[in-house]
Amino acid sequence: MSLEKYKQEVKKILSEYSIKERALLPCLHIAQEKCGYLTEEIISFLAQELGLPKVEVYSVVTFYSMFSLEKQGEYVIRICVSLPCYLKGSGKILEAVKEELNIEAYQTTADKKFTIEPVSCLGLCDKAPAIMVNRDIYGGLTPQQAKNIIKEYKKIK
């Protein structure tokens, strides 16, 4: 999404809020999803629109794990590493995905296609060990199955 288009969208959202500050998270979500990360430009713009010190918006962005300051891959692979998935072998899933993509946790592949995000419990404990690729859920995985899933995504052009 272009910055201009984003700015228009933000103004539309803000018109629905009587207290502008309340709209910060929704505005950040859109930028994160549509632009892949939160740039200095976007944060400055939001600070100005919401009447906040820009460092305060920066502070909010860095507090929440779903917002990132670096461009994330087209596919964000969220791997649950909390206890229920750990008990079911999430450690090996994480290793398998890292191996398949040849990057470390929290890194993005050079082609900007994949980012690995170890995350706290995704509420998929009945399907442990579980991962999410963007919005798609995969559960009850073996390391090989996890690799196969990534391979399928690799095929998408």
Binding site: F45, Q48, L52, P53, K54, V55, Y58, S59, T62, F63
Partner: protein
């Protein structure tokens, strides 16, 4: 009358107004509960958890700073459980803290160090712990931030936002990775930081300090080619004694001059001379603006923290600022032209040091436009604290020094120059002169009580030959913001506004001794007004050295030469 609440603190019955905190109530029975994130001037943060107490009926310890008193409450402030918790919390902070107390700036006044000592912590049980290794922020010419010493109490963040309404720093990241940072870690010099240094005063540890110029000054002093002049701001004399154990508000003008002479400065001059000069220019500028329907309200420009603030936050209103330089920056070029010629020293061989209660003065002095004399007008700026350190380093017995005088002529000043150091002082000094300039009459009652004192916003009306001059005074930038927003909305009723960035004015500046509580600031103000009372001459335009300067060198106020040496322009800066 407020509703009163009865409670028990340890074995004492206490009665306090409703909404009092347990922390405050404990003071009534002479218990100063150990604390770190609590700060009298700031909002309650309730996060360091050092000030925890036991409240009967509550399952956990409660932070006394954030717990309101309740009828019948039973509080214990000192039990085994509390002592154990406080110790462990401080131990946890120490586990992250560099062990360089011996060489730390705050060696003598670190609140964390004192707390660790007071709480009896004699061993570090988390010593295997990893410490932070963050890069210090060295970007600013005024302030250094060392995140490695930060204990995340948020006092700097709160003072920056709540008192100064700047918001240059905030917490970034979360959990164990939390840090205090500027926007995208750009550094204080590259964001809207005003260099006011209130964060330094608020910081309990050595995480914030001024960028020191002590070694540069020593070097100049020991350079035989340099003629080294020192000027001292008004607020310094009301506070520097605190650095040597004297009670707050001790007026040590004479001792200070004596100490500086012992440091081997070639001339001991007074920024108050510059202040008198400022009044000459500024009062005439005001009269001009009123007469010629210039931009009003006119706003003072002595406080470099304030200047940077308006440049960032209200860049479209810079024409409201008086074009007068601050006293420091008026003094510099006069020393390097007028005085240099008098004593036949080349300006480039002259070295001007100022001792300021202020950190922002360091920023101001290095601005590229501050070279009216042909070279940098003020070469080095020391804070009050740095000057005290030099005096200590030289082994000077400050407390027992005899009183000595400033040198002539740039050490001659009036009572009007003295009160520059307190909020409302510039206004009062300007009124003393403006009244006589406009009316041609002698001002009999020279005290303007309405503009004195620690109220955040003050106003007064003065009749000047039929013109009802409306003036306002603000100190602390959040108060200045209120006046500026009136200007923005075209609702400002004032002709003339004084703004000082720091609470209390310069006497509460970021370069002053610590602590700088409200009580201490009040005492410093009282001592300045006392010096004013004792001065033979109390109006700037009656300063004989200033009169001579105009006669011999400048001509008239607002003359071409004055404009060249004593006036400046401002820079539009952005906030976003």
């Amino acid at each position: 009358m407020a509703e009163m609440i009865n409670l028990t603190i340890d074995s004492y019955q206490v009665q306090v107004p409703k909404e009092t905190t347990v922390f405050e109530a404990a003071k009534k029975v002479n218990i100063n509960i150990p604390h770190l994130c609590y700060h009298e001037a700031l909002s309650i943060y309730g996060a360091c958890r050092v000030c925890v107490v036991e409240v009967e009926g509550r399952p956990r310890l409660e932070p006394s700073c954030a717990t309101a008193v309740e009828e019948g409450m039973k509080v214990k402030t000192n039990t085994t459980r509390i002592r154990r918790a406080r110790r462990m919390i401080v131990e946890l902070l120490l586990a992250n803290h560099p062990e360089d107390c011996l060489t730390c700036e705050r060696n003598q006044i670190c609140e964390l160090r004192k707390l660790a000592y007071d709480l009896g912590i004699r061993e570090l049980r988390f010593e295997k712990g990893r410490k932070y290794h963050y890069e210090p922020d060295l970007s600013s010419p005024a302030i250094i931030r060392d995140p490695n010493k930060c204990i995340l109490c948020s006092r700097c963040i709160r003072v920056c936002l709540e008192i100064q309404s700047v918001g240059a720093i905030d917490f970034v990241n979360r959990g164990g990775k939390t840090q205090v940072l500027t926007f995208f870690n750009k550094g204080l010099n590259n964001v809207e930081c005003t260099n006011c240094g209130q964060c330094i005063l608020a910081c309990p540890t050595g995480a914030l300090r001024e960028k020191t110029a002590v070694d540069e000054v020593w070097k100049a002093i020991s350079n035989p080619k340099k003629f080294v002049i020192v000027q001292t701001a008004p607020a310094v004399r009301s506070a520097i004694g605190e650095e040597f154990g004297l009670p707050a508000g001790s007026l040590v003008t004479g001792k200070m001059a004596a100490a500086l002479r012992r440091l081997s400065f070639d001339r001991i001059f007074d920024t108050q001379f510059g202040a008198d000069l400022t009044i000459m220019e500024e009062a005439h500028e005001l009269v001009e603006r009123i007469k010629n329907k210039g931009v009003l309200p006119m706003i003072t420009s002595c406080s470099p923290g304030w200047i940077k603030y308006i440049e960032h936050f209200f860049p479209d209103y810079l024409e409201h600022l008086s074009t007068c330089k601050s006293p420091q920056q008026m003094f510099g070029p006069i020393a390097k032209t007028y005085y240099a010629q008098k004593i036949s020293v080349k300006p480039e061989d002259m070295y001007v040091v100022s001792i300021m209660p202020c950190t922002a003065k360091k920023f101001e002095a290095q601005l590229p436009e501050m070279n009216a004399s042909g070279c940098q007008d003020v070469d080095a700026v020391l804070t009050t604290r740095e000057a005290a350190r030099m005096i200590k380093e030289a082994g000077i017995d400050f407390v027992n020094l005899p009183d000595e005088d400033f040198d002539k002529p740039l050490g001659i000043s009036t009572g009007a120059g003295v009160i520059f150091g307190a909020t409302g002082g510039v206004m009062e000094a300007a009124l003393r002169t403006a009244y006589e300039v406009v009316t041609g009459k002698t001002l009999e009652e020279i005290k303007f009580e309405q503009v004195r004192g620690m109220e955040g916003l003050k106003e007064a009306e003065v009749n000047l030959n039929g013109l009802n001059l409306k003036v306002a005074v603000a100190h602390g930038l959040s108060n200045a913001r209120i006046l500026l927003e009136q200007v923005q909305k075209k609702e400002s009723p004032y002709h003339f506004i004084e703004v000082m960035a720091c609470p209390g004015g310069c006497l509460g500046g970021g370069g002053q001794p610590m602590p700088a509580t409200l009580e201490i600031r009040k005492k410093r103000a009282a001592s300045l007004y006392c010096e004013d009372e004792g001065k033979a001459i109390r109006k700037s335009h009656e300063n004989p050295a200033v009169i001579a300067l105009y006669k011999e060198f400048l001509g008239n106020p607002l003359s071409k030469k004055s404009h060249h040496l004593l006036h400046t322009t401002y820079t539009k800066r952005s906030r976003y």
